[in-house]
Symmetry: C2
């Protein structure tokens, strides 16, 4: 029953109007000033003034001529999102790598990097050193090309406190009460862009959502196979964070009978049956290169995929078991959230063609609503970059929410 | 990443402004025109015009004089929500009763009724007859007192298709593919208010949410003990419906080892272990009056509560078992959704003082996040009327979303 936020004063009305115009151009595409006026209900002079501000700030540019619907006379010049000089950075800390991805305001990738790292063994301080170095290099490269970095989102597994910027607990990387944002700020120094923290699976869900929201999908669950299992939920077009940011913590439920010890200290947690540990345990012996954490994860997963494609019995049996363990958890999420899509990411996406038919059939069988409530299970197309991409998008969203802030940065 | 809706034309700008002013008065309380201008950023003349329209439509009235913050000179007249003549109706179909509750725009109860009925035995046609009669009488009484009924929300258990107005399946009342809204419209005739359909637990969650939203609670799960178990989810201040309206279907998960047959045809469903059937099976023999569906449910539950208060061993043991069966399902919901509150309704609320300490302790033990992620388990204060109240609120919300529609009705 929530409605539009109530603007508090005239300055915030201007900000709200700039934001409305910019989001209109992002969501509905380029259009003339006259059409912006029609679409927003803003007077012609106001639209003129707002687009001039956005042009000056480098967030939009003049596009092709557009003949207005039904208009007589000369066609209007259209306005479109520009912002190729405006970047958001997502930086991810995973169990065995750190990575960075930058997007410009148009959503194009402007920087990308992945560095293998045994995060648990290195410990928080050394990891933050490495992440800070990676971010600083990314910022330097983008600034060197004349770009402006408006923000950084750091992604980690586990339960994070977004407001405090701390990782409360992340058993898979062995972190507890780590002041990650403060640690990064200190290392990046005073000139660094605004930095925030969010859980990796939630950012992955955001990235997946923006790929499908144009198809009117408003409800989505993103389940990503990593060392653990991350779940990110979009309901009614909104990211579900929960009161404390802990939403989506399903990896430690006991859904499949098992006694396998978990990093959390309990036994039989779901993630010990579908996470990377289970996959490698089922598919290979400890000496196998696919189990070596110092080899890039993408390389190792690709090797396992090659084996599956070649019909290797042990690999295929491992994937069958992962699928059988995965289905009850997905069915549970579908019963509770009734998403239009369940998007499988991480290693699930790597082996999707070997999992998806069997998993989909089992979920349809288990879910109470007919035909699984209309839910379809699909594979992420974002590979291992989804989380960092979600982080970059979240950093850029500050521009859409308040264009004035970034225009001041650009001009200041 | 959603923002305010984009208004499509000047007429919708006026509607959006009327809605904004009305919601401001609802959410933030009475205030002068000058302060409405400050709070909304709307020009003084526009505020004058908008409040005049709302006054004329009977949705607001002049209130007490208010001295504006820092203003010199005579104090401004404040404006406040009126709408004592504007009503929304919620009508509930439950397993063994039908009920109605009407609220006026200020949220005051303007009509209330509950009628015992064996809904499963009666069948959809006879039930719709009885519900239509109850609604028609309610409308007549309200209209007789000069009131305007802006809408009716029908609540049923089970999976409903809100857009089509059909109950897809509701195993506890034995309904499948029932065109409930069309059936009601036909019976109520052409002059009837707009009628919609929603799931009972979702409406209960809305009613609970509006009681606590002022305390900045934005994430809540409402779990109601009925014949089955209904779950309604509010995440980030929004009702979670799911893509097909099926969200919250947790009653048929197997969470507690059991072979008890369920109305859905499976065995061991969670609701057979915590629903009314389990409560009565544990607490009484079949001949006991508390098991008689023709006795008002409130009376029967009150009898059981009296027995518990008197220390009756069988009743207390029954409640202990219900609590032990309840905890794993609540923990699951808390792990996935991280709500600030779990509100227990239906028969859980009736026996709350005997359940809540033990259930809370078990949930804290089971949930992965420290201290259950800050979640508190509380009892509904709405008794059996929560669902119908949520329906009435939803019917009234159309007024807040588009005051013009009801002002036209009132003047037309």
């Amino acid at each position: 029953m929530a409605g539009p936020a109530v603007a508090r004063d005239r300055s915030s009305t201007r900000r709200a109007n700039l934001s409305m115009v910019l989001r209109l151009l992002r969501d509905e595409g380029p259009r003339s000033r006259a059409r912006i006026g029609d679409d927003t209900g803003l007077p012609k002079a106001t639209v003129s003034h707002l687009t001039a501000e956005l042009l000056e700030g480098g967030l939009v540019r003049e596009g092709a001529a557009e003949r207005d619907r039904g208009a007589v006379g000369r066609p209007g010049q259209s306005v479109e999102i520009d912002g190729r000089g405006v970047h958001g950075i997502g930086a991810e800390i995973n169990v065995d790598y750190i990575s960075l991805l930058a997007l410009d305001l148009r959503g194009q990738v402007s920087a990308e990097q992945r560095i293998p790292l045994d995060v648990r063994a290195a410990g928080p301080e050394a990891v933050l050193d490495a992440v800070a170095r990676m971010i600083a290099e990314g910022i330097e490269a983008l600034r060197g090309a004349g770009g402006l970095v408006v923000g950084v989102t750091l992604a980690t597994p586990g339960a994070v406190n977004m407001d405090a910027g701390t990782v409360d607990y992340a058993s898979n990387i062995g972190w507890r009460e780590v002041a990650a944002v403060a640690g990064l700020r200190e290392r990046l120094g005073p000139g660094a862009p605004e930095t925030h923290l969010e859980n990796d699976a939630k950012l992955g869900a955001l990235a997946e959502y923006l790929l499908v929201s144009a198809d009117n999908v408003r409800d989505l669950v993103h389940v990503t196979g990593q060392t653990g299992v991350g779940v990110g939920i979009i309901a009614g077009g909104q990211l579900v964070r929960g009161a404390g940011g802990y939403a989506g913590e399903i990896g430690h439920l006991r859904l499949v009978p098992s006694d396998q010890p978990c990093a959390c200290g309990r036994r039989g947690c779901w993630e010990t049956m579908v996470g990377r540990g289970a996959l490698l345990r089922y598919a290979a012996d400890p000496g196998d290169m696919v189990c070596d954490p110092m080899v890039d994860l993408g390389t190792r997963l690709a090797e396992l995929r090659d084996r599956a494609h070649a019909g290797d019995g042990r690999t295929l049996e491992a994937l069958r078991r992962i699928g059988d363990n995965l289905a009850p958890g997905l069915a549970l999420l579908v019963d509770i959230l009734n998403p239009r899509l369940v998007v499988l990411g991480g290693h699930f996406a790597f082996f999707g063609e070997h999992l998806i038919d069997s998993v989909s059939a089992q979920v349809r069988e288990l879910v109470m609503a007919p035909d699984a409530g209309g839910c379809e299970i699909v594979l992420s197309r974002l590979g291992l970059s989804g989380t960092a991409r979600g982080g970059a998008l979240l950093a850029l969203d500050t521009v859409y929410q308040d264009p004035v802030r970034v225009m001041n940065l650009a001009n200041g």
